[in-house]
Amino acid sequence: MPTLFEASHEESPKAKSAPKGSLREKATSLKAFASYALHPKGLHFETQEKEEEIILFLRQHLIFLIPWLVVGVFLCFVPVVFPFFLSAFPDYFSLSPSYVIVGTIFWYVAVFGFCLTKTIHWYFNIFIVTNERIVDIDFINLLHKEFSEAQVTRIQDISYNTKGLLGTMFNFGDVSIQTAGELPNFIFEGVPKPSEVVEIISDISDGKEVTL
């Protein structure tokens, strides 16, 4: 039977040109709720230009969500304990069942809303390093957004610190970037693998091909 279609075995120009050990070679699709991604695929941010390539994507380590989730789980048990508390004062508190039902549902909806806003806040506070600039997008609260950026050529000094037991165990810390002139300094707080982040940004600002 004649061959109607044969898949091309040629690699894409990008993949072909990727040197061994380079970030492009290690490029992967961004996993859901990832807090560290090298050369991520399928990611785009608001002011990204056509030729601009995202090299590093960061947000706070996932562990920063755990305290809020623990608080959320704890709050879920409050409606279970609350009736016992009320039963101690039967003369003062006598709620009709309809208020108990509505109040309990409201409590769980509010706890869900609390956890959701914390998750959204974590999810959209991001740091991006491209081949041209570093970008810090902060959502201070639901109605307050801050967008800062600096060209990689303006980076003067970069350092990191890892603090505490959790920081050491899970390898996360703060990365500080000082920029030239009146540009704002950047602090990437609680990001995973801070030493690698410093290494990558240093390589980019020196104009080197980034390898790890």
């Binding site: 709720f33 785009h44 208020y99 549902i105 909806v109 809303g113 957004k145």
Partner: protein, 73 residues
């Protein structure tokens, strides 16, 4: 005014405050949905749909609660 009237009036006030409170909460849930949409424009990522769904579930629950409160309180 009789004590019964005072009691029924106070329950009516509590009902009104509860419904107004739930209405404000439903507005807050709407703000979360809107804000999520605005944030998603800043960062286009595959897993943002999951948060969008959660935000809509939260809004739906808040609206359901408001309607429930109007009917059963």
């Amino acid at each position: 005014m009789t004590p019964d009237t005072i009691q029924s009036l106070s329950w009516l006030l509590i009902k009104i405050f509860t419904i107004v409170g739930f209405g404000i909460y439903a507005l807050f849930a709407g703000v979360i949905v809107r804000q999520e949409q605005l944030m998603a424009k800043v960062l286009e990522e595959a897993s943002e749909n999951f948060l969008k769904v959660l935000a809509f579930i939260h809004l739906g629950a808040a609206l359901f609660l408001l309607v429930l409160a109007i009917f059963i309180l």
